[in-house]
Subunit: 443 residues, 2 copies
Amino acid sequence: MNHAYRQEIDLLLEAAWVVPVQPHGVVLENHAVAVDAGRIVALLPQAVAHANYTARETVSLRAHVLIPGLINSHTHNPMTLLRGLADDLPLMTWLQQHIWPVEAEVMGAEFVRDGVELAVAEMLRSGTTCANEHYFFPDVIGATYHKMGFRAMVGLPVIAFPTAWAASQDEYFERALEVHGQFCANALVSTAFAPHAPYTVSDESFERIRVLADQLDVPVHIHLHETAHEVEESEKKHGLRPFQRMQKLGLVNDRLIAVHMTTLSEGEMAACSEAGVSVVHCPESNLKLASGFSPVEDLCRHGVNLALGTDGCASNNDLDMFGEMRTAALLAKAVARDASAFSAPFALRAATLNGARALGLDAQIGSIEVGKQADIVAVRLDDLETQPLFHVISQLVYATTRHQVSDVWIAGQRKLAERSLVDLDVEGMLARTGAWRARIAAI
Amino acid sequence: MNHAYRQEIDLLLEAAWVVPVQPHGVVLENHAVAVDAGRIVALLPQAVAHANYTARETVSLRAHVLIPGLINSHTHNPMTLLRGLADDLPLMTWLQQHIWPVEAEVMGAEFVRDGVELAVAEMLRSGTTCANEHYFFPDVIGATYHKMGFRAMVGLPVIAFPTAWAASQDEYFERALEVHGQFCANALVSTAFAPHAPYTVSDESFERIRVLADQLDVPVHIHLHETAHEVEESEKKHGLRPFQRMQKLGLVNDRLIAVHMTTLSEGEMAACSEAGVSVVHCPESNLKLASGFSPVEDLCRHGVNLALGTDGCASNNDLDMFGEMRTAALLAKAVARDASAFSAPFALRAATLNGARALGLDAQIGSIEVGKQADIVAVRLDDLETQPLFHVISQLVYATTRHQVSDVWIAGQRKLAERSLVDLDVEGMLARTGAWRARIAAI
């Protein structure tokens, strides 16, 4: 073929293996991903790629697998600065005596910005390219992600009491609309409503959220049925389980991103499936806070879209989606009493395409498919810890740790290059983290 | 102080922090460990160390914590060559259609040697310095550990059917005694009886094991109450639960290393405590094979010595004791419905001193105490994934991954130096691993 007929593109990624996630469970050998203007333009055998394209940059990854960037579907990344502040404590002691008093002292634009920056560094080094955020100061959160070139859905918080972010219910909604306006045309940052939880949000606020979420066409991201205690308290107070209350308020629909869901009836699972609700499973947080065991295999049997999240660093204590995939796959087997439950290919799907679907972004991200954004992660599989190699996807989920992530692209921009963070002032970031540590430890 | 009065020693390790494990939960700042002739001779503030000692080698670890080498109290390391061969399968399909047919083809001296070599490399890179082995060809296993300078307790297998290792019950015992004789004076390698499980060992063989274990003064390392199914089948066949049968046979004593123990009554836990039985908890294997949830917090409440193991790489799929500590601590909280259960300091103790005690080696290893063997691991805590740093032990258990292990000493010999394996032919090892992969994949 004549060179003149080759299409010019920005980037060609050649890898030993590509796992596109869609189609499910497929492993392509010696393929290449062609990227132009931030999007995937082809996924094809390397020889064909060389015949068809001339790339301004070619990256050859001879011992690597390419996967879609991982999507952390539930996190509170400013809290990365509270990593390991208080562990091994009952939930209410942890919240009331440690987390809330510290947050009352430190929460503000600088804390949020510095926490998100540290989180982005950790996420890039562990193959995550998109975070679903649930915290205060979404304006700062969104601006920080935008500045760092990282993809995020930023929650617009609503909670029944005043915080540094908003003094009244009306102010929560005013600021929510402002922040939505700031990011509604942003290529990387989008928004969702983020009511804290049924026990901290009034019916009236939920009704406003329902109307506005429809109007703005954004998801509703909420902690729901995190513990059996939450469900019991709601029954006492409202005569309804939280899920039933959400149904009554018209919020059980395909905008709903329901996080945790440890306590569910068969009827509730069927209702989630029918309404197109997405459930975000955070197994490590659920274990660490002794919240309960989510019946994820039953949810899958009902056809519910199941995504994965780490939750915040104060209850995990990392943002490692490789670890979360592994824990989810291991734990689901024991909970379902079935060693074939939650297979490795399903775990990878939950951490990618199902997350994209939960966020309403599955037309843009979540798989390595032509037309999608080039959010792509390269993982080395030649470390001795991943030898011998029989099955690529099993190895990714059960034997690979995040330090084998070598390179990360978001919308075609290289953010991690052979384990180095591109254009990121790591020393400055660690100095700011150290200053926060000193300030927080003194509270 | 006059230089002439300083004691000459082999090695001085200076670190930002030392966690000796004994006393429990203590973190020493800016301390040093003095090592001579393979043993710890002092643990003291750095300034005092400089005044008292002249070391032939000093290693300064300014961003590191020193901990005792981790003890993997249950593993089948030759099976490292079967990592990821067959995942997401029910236990019996996994064993009967995948693991056993492959083992029947490959098991022999070379397979065992090459598997252990790969395992040693992985263990050193993840801070493990001692393995409690349970597999065939213990002569080869022991010789490989001896050659590599790695500490191990090697199980002398007994199982009711012929294998490549022994054709009859008598031969299992003859070979056991031979192998015990080979290693009874070895500085690093010791032995234990390793009956496979109650359902694969006869009463007669158990009786021989009881007599011989007493005579040779070695532990008895067995899979026990791995699943509820095992317990039910024993009740049908023997009219006794496996633990009751072990009691009747006189094996429930302080030699017993009981692995798994997912199904236990209060009475059985009390009996374990009273008899001085050690229980080895393998949380990731129990989850992956859907074996059940061991009531570890209840065992601790009863005062039972609880250690940790990874189990073999075919059901984990790694030998990562950092991951195992974390999974154990997270899972125990959810199982006990108490977020304060299985604290980080306890997880570290289970992975070190409790393991040593299970193996009957607690006078030699398991903590950084004067007189013990210098089995010591340095872990970097300045990676951004372990910032900010509020509590060293929490950070080790909940946020640190194995790739932060920088240096490892066994009996004062440096085996890992700034992440490099000392005197180990990694390329040759990976080439042999690749050859096994090809052979196994073709079966």
